[in-house]
Amino acid sequence: MPQMNMVQAINDALRHEMRRDSRVVVLGEDVGKVGGVFRVTQGLFDEFGDDRVIDTPLSENGIVGAAIGMALYGLVPIPEIQFADFIYPAYDQIVSELAKYRYRSGGEYPSKLVIRTPVGGGIRGGHYHSQSPEAQFIHVPGLKVVCPSNPADAKGLLLSSIRDPDPVLFFEPKRIYRAAKGDVPDGDYTVPLGQAKVVRPGWHVTLVVWGAMLYEALDAANQAAAQGIECEVIDLRTLWPLDIDTVIESVKRTGRFIVVHEAPKSCGLGAELVALVNEKAFLHLEAPPLRITGFDTPFPYTLENEYLPLSHRILPAILEMARY
């Protein structure tokens, strides 16, 4: 199996599907000749040409709106938004139109596309290049939301997203684009949507996490293990629909639940998870559930390491909860 980083694995998935399915087109700002700001679409322009790898002007709402129309006509468009922070000009098309297509046609006429976009902090991008807006899309019925943490999942989840019948927002954690490396299966390889993965088994505390913060949670879990506390770390992988069963099964064993995410705390996906844990495992809890998250402020340029829920913030929470 070849070793790849996230960028290569996503590129591999796009290439694989474009070779297999001529309906697939990629569009976005600088995705063609330049190969994307993070070089994720590098080489696709040369292989598939400019009618399948389409450089667009700076028009997010236009890009997504046009992609919706392409999908209605039977294409499988994969628009790229350069940073998740720039998705808001397209928010109208995504929320008002894309998410509602299946519904408005009585379930018969979906608009199927995958929006790829880099997400999260870690590159000191400040308040317009660091945000994690997943909850704002989860809150819109009709969209699926995915966020891989490693190259193999990135490939497998992207191929599943492209073949899924519903629109998917595919968030790529830019902090680990090149830092996360691993074996990636050759050829056709899918990871089903809606299945979380237990990355580290444990029995004292359940840690739920996704994307780049997985590595911080694992780091904290390893440090806690040195003090005799064994955390079960669950990588959510698909943020919506949730694999709540895997989470609840774990919480019932550990009685302790921590969710970690980069987005601000209030009304984040963590809040929904805590609510579900309370609903489904309340009588098993040994301690109040906890959210370790970004602050309820815009994402700061400096203070990035304080804002992000890095292991230095996760570890004390684990220890405190274990003692509770």
């Binding site: 600088d30 991008g125 308040h127 203070l303 804002y307």
Partner: protein, 350 residues
């Protein structure tokens, strides 16, 4: 009278024929060499500031993104010379030049790049998000086009309050493809607002050349559909920029009429520091660098016998920038407590 609709492309050809780039024919220079020297000093200060910022970035003392304005200095400086201090300006993430031109100290600017608490936004914004209330510089904006309707709002407020303050909003030609640009233009024309839209057309939006961004390369033509005055010229001289923008500013101030001004320019560096710039040739870049407007001013002033004054400026600016770097390096980083009052007006109870 019958109204024929000319296809946009044909219209563009017509206008391009009527108004070739030479419409930039230099307006007579006014106000003498003292002004020119002071504007040269400002351009040079911006150039040297950014060169030092680039160096600090290469040493990882500055993080994130750094978009340099090198090559485009005459626009911010010429504009600032034509504006009043109480006029409002807003620009893109390529904002160091305008901030310095408006009067931000190199110290506050450099410290912001370093993410220090002494920076213009306490280190919370960084390079792309300068803000300077004192000089009515309402920020650098990282969402392309997002600031354009906001400037329409400040222009509206000026008119509403019966004041004659003008708003000037700067953006690249990339922004012309986004809805905010058109919505802002539409409102400003409809409401006859005292605003100047300045498109700094540097021929590239990241790696995409103008020809692949816009179906009609003459950005100023967009004004026609909104019934707005327009102007279009190459940035060739800082005083020319001042004079041409001065006309649009006067129109805004005295008649409350908006103008779209397209200024053709060129950036000598990559889109940001992380851009290797493979989408343009070395030859093209070298060719354009020969037309460096900053250099043109220097040569002109030297020829007019101002060598001593220029040397004094060199020294002053070098000292100023060295001082700014030292200040930024020595300033403390903010602690998390600095975030507390930044998001809501008071303490926020959860």
């Amino acid at each position: 009278m019958s109204l024929t609709i000319t296809p946009t492309a044909a219209l563009a050809t017509v206008w391009n024929a009527v108004l070739p780039p030479e419409i930039s024919a230099m307006t007579t220079l006014t106000n003498g060499d003292d002004l020119h020297l002071s504007l040269y000093r400002k351009m040079f200060q911006i150039r040297r500031f950014e060169e030092e910022a680039a160096r600090a970035y290469a040493q990882s003392k500055i993080g994130g993104f750094l978009h340099l304005y090198i090559g485009q200095e005459p626009i911010a400086v010429g504009a600032s010379a034509a504006l009043r201090p109480d006029d409002y300006v807003m620009t893109t993430y390529r904002d160091h030049g305008l901030a310095l031109a408006r009067g931000m100290t190199p110290r506050a600017a450099m410290a912001e790049l370093y993410g220090k608490v002494t920076g213009c936004s306490k280190g919370l914004g960084g390079s792309m998000h300068f803000f300077d209330k004192e000089h009515n510089m309402l920020g650098g904006y990282g969402i392309v086009g997002g600031h354009i309707p906001i400037a329409v709002g400040t222009a509206f407020a000026s008119k509403y309050r019966g004041e004659d303050r003008v708003s000037m909003v700067f953006f690249g030609e990339g922004a012309v493809s986004i809805g905010d640009f058109h919505e802002g233009m539409s409102l400003a024309a409809l409401w006859k607002l005292p605003i100047v839209f300045v498109c700094e057309n540097n021929e590239y939006a990241m790696g995409t050349p103008l020809s692949r961004t816009l179906s009609v390369e003459d950005v100023s033509l967009k004004a026609l559909a909104y019934g707005m005055e327009r102007d279009r010229f190459n940035s060739e001289h800082v005083l020319q920029v001042r004079d041409r923008l001065g006309e649009a500013i006067a129109r805004a101030r005295t008649h409350s009429e908006p103008t779209l001004v397209e200024i053709r320019t060129y950036r000598f560096r990559g889109h940001s520091m992380s851009d290797p710039g493979k989408y343009r040739t070395k030859e093209e870049l070298e060719e354009r660098k020969k037309k460096d407007v900053l250099l043109r001013s220097r040569i002109e002033l030297e020829e007019k016998g101002h060598k001593a004054a220029l040397e004094a400026i060199d020294k002053e600016v070098e000292d100023e920038i060295a001082d700014a770097v030292r200040f930024a390096e020595e300033s403390p980083e903010p602690g998390p407590e600095v975030l507390e009052p930044t998001t809501y007006a008071g303490p926020f109870a959860r």
